[in-house]
Symmetry: C2
Subunit: 358 residues, 2 copies
């Protein structure tokens, strides 16, 4: 499947390009108390290690602004301040070194948006207009009855006009809803009305598994249509998982090159403990950076050899022993007890030689 | 988002309609040893309880045929036999009472397909032509070089012609690949070439989380385009999870009415242990059947009241206490310690009165 990405303007968020052909940037947000700088720095590092390219941090008071400064001083990725209600916190965040701010037109007045935009324009920092179906301004809720796609887009584009008029050009836009369908409808509409880069996400998607499904369906459909320049998966769990899910979504659509495990669901034909083997390999791979190797771990002779043949490295497990495949060719028999070690040994070798291969 | 489902012929699999406007049917497959009838019956029951409508069981030898008979005798849903290589096992499975058989044209000869189809036609049972990129017949692999969408569709439609000619009309078709992109391409092509109902799935999608993402993206995109009459999510884990993920995918697209938790990802603004609360509610809900109630569990005042207002029941948690919303209206303040109990109490009441509401 080929994806034609929609042409958007490119903006710069603290050195990270967004839109205009740049890779889809993965974002997440800390859930520590911001004022606890140490805890927040620790979480930022974990997020970055997992592949997060932009980290958003809630800024709710003066104590969090003070901490923000410390966090930004040591962060290897741009930090975006999430500000609601109070425009002063946005400007304080710019002064603390934030690469951007996310504002919500549902809870900041037009006057205050203009004020923030003037300061952002002077400094060349970015603003995300982050509309959310759960916090739409009352006038639009009254006009449309519900947070419809039209209402979300109108809210976003109203704020965009104010910001551009005030002299800030570094703008990205989001119109998140908590259902996949409403999110898709809103972004489809918005993408027809602006060429600004879009930050996509299903908001409040829920717990890990159901939230992952909702986000994968909603964001997967948008990305397949070429919509989305940066993304956040919102899950009620450790934000590191948000980054992992975002990367899996991009990888599944060929928008990110990452290591991939192909493994069969096991059935009556499986004669080895495949679930454990796959979990062990997955855990080992999570500990390190890997080039986009395709690993096939298959439990029987039906699809095993076929999948292993299409993968970079694969094992087709039979009864008590299996066949190891390297770049599509069977290379040797492996005893059941050695599956894990043999696979990891091969993976390390492939990794070492990866640069030469490409 | 409105989904226009593609018009397909309707078939009947042991009393369960598939295609032609029937709901998208959820399938899974046991991974117990089939010959162990007790273990397999236990797993079938778990799958059915989770919402599985058709259960597939691998039939690999005479012992599994004997067990199949026992399993079918007590199963509340139709059982489909998964047969490779040996046509006799398919016919034995029909005799054991299987509602259908899945055959793989990659490993059964044309002669044998015809033989199975004749027997299926006589009995009115169903055949799924289950093509898999990992086990395509050699002649097509040679012709196309790789398991391309064209190769998978050609394999499937060749078998369909043999089966129809032999007098069996109850046919569904699948063309699974292990990447979301290849799966989407294959089904898009296939859906233009036949009006038979399609069984969709990303094969060997992998471990729980990455496999869930791949399946949600791949099947979500297809379902949104109206493609898919029955589905299986293939994960290297407990098959009950496959059913849960399948139902979440359908629910996220409005193709299945089920209870839904909307919950925020938590951030610096959250002043309660929302992750634990959400997990507790999720766990409690999983134990029972619930009508499609929309539950919002929100951690702060930004989107909390807005989302809670759009839900059937919701709590917007502030510092130490929160506001409970019922059908969009705030009804009372709740202390932090009572969130879980108050929510569950409300849920039970809504459930009791659900029939009257609709």
């Amino acid at each position: 499947m080929e994806i034609k990405r929609r042409k958007t303007r490119q903006i710069n968020v603290g050195g990270v390009t967004v839109g205009g052909g740049a890779p889809v940037r993965v974002q997440s947000m800390t859930n520590t108390e911001t004022a606890d700088a140490d805890a927040t720095i620790k979480q930022v590092r974990k997020l970055v290690k997992a592949g997060c390219e932009l980290v958003r941090i809630g800024v709710t008071d003066k104590a969090s602004v003070r901490a923000l400064k410390k966090i930004i001083a040591v962060s290897s990725v741009p930090i975006i301040a999430d500000v609601h209600f109070n425009p002063k916190l946005a400007i304080d965040s710019f002064n603390a070194g934030a690469a951007g701010v996310r504002i919500n037109p549902g809870n900041i007045s037009e006057e205050n948006i203009t004020q923030i935009a003037r300061e952002a324009g002077k400094r060349g920092v970015a603003i995300r207009v982050g509309v959310n179906a759960g916090s739409l301004q009352k006038s639009l809720l009254k006009k449309y009855g519900h947070p419809t796609p039209e209402a979300l887009a109108e809210s976003a584009l109203g704020a965009v006009r104010l910001i551009a008029t005030a002299g800030c050009e570094n703008i990205k836009v989001s119109v998140k809803a908590s259902s996949a369908g409403a999110t898709i409808d809103s972004y489809r509409l918005l993408s027809q009305q602006t060429d600004l880069p879009l930050h996509i996400g299903v908001t409040e998607a829920g717990p890990l598994l159901s939230g992952t499904v909702k986000s994968s369906v909603g964001l997967g459909i948008l990305l397949a249509e070429g919509i989305g320049d940066t993304m956040r998966v919102s899950l009620t769990t450790d934000p590191v998982q948000e980054v992992m899910v975002a990367k899996e979504i991009l990888s599944s659509l060929g928008l990110l090159a990452k290591i991939e495990i192909i493994s069969c669901p096991t059935c009556a034909r499986t004669e080895t403990d495949l679930i454990e083997l796959v979990e062990d390999v997955e855990e080992a791979l999570a500990k390190d950076f890997w080039p986009p190797i395709k690993v096939a771990i298959m439990g029987c002779v039906v699809n095993g050899p076929g999948e292993a043949r299409e993968a970079d490295i694969g094992v087709a497990c039979g009864k008590g022993r299996g066949v190891l495949f390297r770049f599509g060719k069977p290379v040797k028999n492996v005893e059941e007890d050695d599956y894990f070690e043999e696979l990891m040994k091969e993976l390390v070798t492939i990794k070492k030689n990866w640069r030469e291969r490409i």
